[in-house]
């Protein structure tokens, strides 16, 4: 069966009958006539007749991958952030910020390319910008550069501001399990004010697999 998480910037596809790892395809390159057996992601409904809500997929993915009864799992995507919190094995809280906390992942990727930075080699700054939105937050970078701060330092403060905003959005947990493409960004992961366990960008695919198993 073909499982897919159709994200804003990247689509993740998994063929369950194959031993190959999941494929990552830029959303702009995806074949619009593609049909999959089960899908999630904000773009997913057009590609399948079996659609799973993103929060449900995230939660089920977390339940498959995390061996604790109480946890907070935060997914930082290109366009939005969302989290689920379990307490004693029961769903306790969740949130999905698609508007005013939006475009964080997309903006971070854009800035890395625009300023030709390498996030894997950048130091985590001591302070951060106060940021609630990727787009609005960019003005902080421009303002800081004008006052003599290096582009790299300004972007690092921006990234840390985004991490802190995401942490606050998830209600400041003691530990964060992180999902999404930003797991691969050490500057972002290291900017959280709490321990972070990175689960990678295929957590929602794991949730789709769990949904399939539930329906069997």
């Amino acid at each position: 069966m073909l499982l897919a998480d159709f994200g804003t910037s990247y689509c993740k596809l998994l063929e369950t009958d194959s031993t190959e790892p999941p494929r990552l395809i830029a959303t702009r390159s995806i074949d619009r006539s593609l049909k999959v057996d089960i899908a999630t992601g904000h773009n997913g409904k057009r590609y399948t007749s079996h659609y799973v809500n993103e929060l449900t997929a995230l939660a089920r993915g977390g339940l498959s991958l995390i061996k604790e009864e109480s946890f907070t799992l935060l997914d930082c995507g290109s366009r939005d952030i969302k989290y689920v919190a379990y307490s004693g094995g029961k769903i306790k809280d969740m949130g999905w910020n698609a508007e005013c906390g939006a475009s964080m992942g997309f903006t971070i990727e854009l800035l890395e390319k625009y300023y030709t930075l390498d996030f894997s080699s950048m130091d985590i700054p001591e302070s951060s910008f106060s940021i609630t939105c990727g787009v609005l937050g960019m003005s902080h970078i421009f303002d800081a550069v004008v006052t003599g701060v290096s582009e790299a330092e300004a972007v690092a403060k921006f990234v840390k501001g985004i991490a802190i905003n995401a942490y606050n959005f998830a209600k400041r947990p003691e530990k964060v399990y992180l999902s999404g493409g930003l797991c691969d960004n050490p500057l972002f992961v290291g900017s959280f004010p709490c321990p972070v366990v990175s689960l990678g960008r295929f957590v929602l695919l794991e949730g789709l697999q769990a949904s399939l198993n539930q329906n069997k």
């Binding site: 904000h42 809500n53 993103e54 929060l55 449900t56 939660a59 089920r60 939005d80 969302k82 689920v84 029961k90 769903i91 306790k92 809280d93 969740m94 949130g95 999905w96 910020n97 698609a98 508007e99």
Partner: protein
């Protein structure tokens, strides 16, 4: 002509029973101004109330502008909210030809809550509850169902979120006070069932958001949710996921 003598009476919140008995005569046509009355653009309220304000009271202003009632009974007691106090002042200046009557509903006779506990499509159930405001007769008995989910809060501005719940959802919070005709009954408003997954809902920018979030935190299986004028995809996804993940 008899029709020319019919007065258009707007109501905001739940006026006292004595007022509703007065209005339940052929001389009055009642408009529940809290609810959308046809295709009235809520943005027409923006010159009179801030955009960042309770969606229900913005609806009141938009409805009042479109309907221009002869008289408006607006409850400004603690069974409604402080925002209604200020909205009454705005209405007075906005509609000089409309008589604005402030009420403070402290009715304490329990009419019962059969609708809140019966098995029915939740959207239809909430619509039936809001319609009880205009009904002054004692309620019919209805069979209670075993609840599988709970909805705590006020009737939402956007009823479409109610379609996501099962028919066996019980209603709690101010909507239950509404059916009971005791809008200023905090004990009843605070009541919830800790044994069923419950969504604690409030309109964005409403003071009840504090209570909804507080109770959701106390409830062993509660989810806090607030929405403004219309519920977006993320709000609907939260409800859907919460119910799915609670095995409902």
């Amino acid at each position: 002509m008899a029709s020319s003598t019919i007065q258009r009476a707007g109501i905001v919140g739940i006026p006292p029973l004595s007022i509703m008995e007065l209005l339940a005569t052929p001389e009055f046509k009642i408009f529940d101004l809290d609810e959308p009355q046809g295709k009235i653009d809520i943005e027409t309220a923006s010159p009179f109330l801030p955009r960042v304000y309770c969606g229900i009271l913005r609806t009141v202003i938009a409805n009042s502008l479109a309907i221009r009632p002869d008289i408006i009974y607006i409850d400004t007691g603690s069974g409604k909210c402080d925002c209604a106090v200020h909205t009454a002042t705005v209405l007075e200046d906005m509609l000089p030809d409309t008589r604005i009557v402030r009420t403070k509903n402290q009715d304490s006779i329990d009419f019962g809550t059969p609708l809140c506990k019966t098995r029915m499509n939740l959207l239809e159930k909430m619509a039936a509850i809001t319609a009880t405001v205009q009904n002054t007769a004692p309620y019919q008995e209805l069979t209670s169902c075993k609840p599988t989910a709970g909805f705590w809060g006020v009737p939402p501005r956007d009823f479409s979120i109610l379609n996501l719940f099962p028919d066996t959802t019980h209603i709690y919070g101010w909507a239950r006070c509404m059916e009971n005709k005791t809008p200023d009954n905090l004990d009843l408003e605070l009541h919830y069932n800790p044994d069923i997954p419950t969504v604690f809902f409030a309109q964005s920018f409403c003071a009840k958001t504090a209570l909804a979030r507080h109770l959701a935190g106390k409830h062993p299986h509660g989810l806090y949710l607030d929405c403004d004028v219309t519920a977006g995809n993320s709000a609907k996804a939260k409800i859907q996921a919460f119910l799915e993940l609670s095995n409902i």
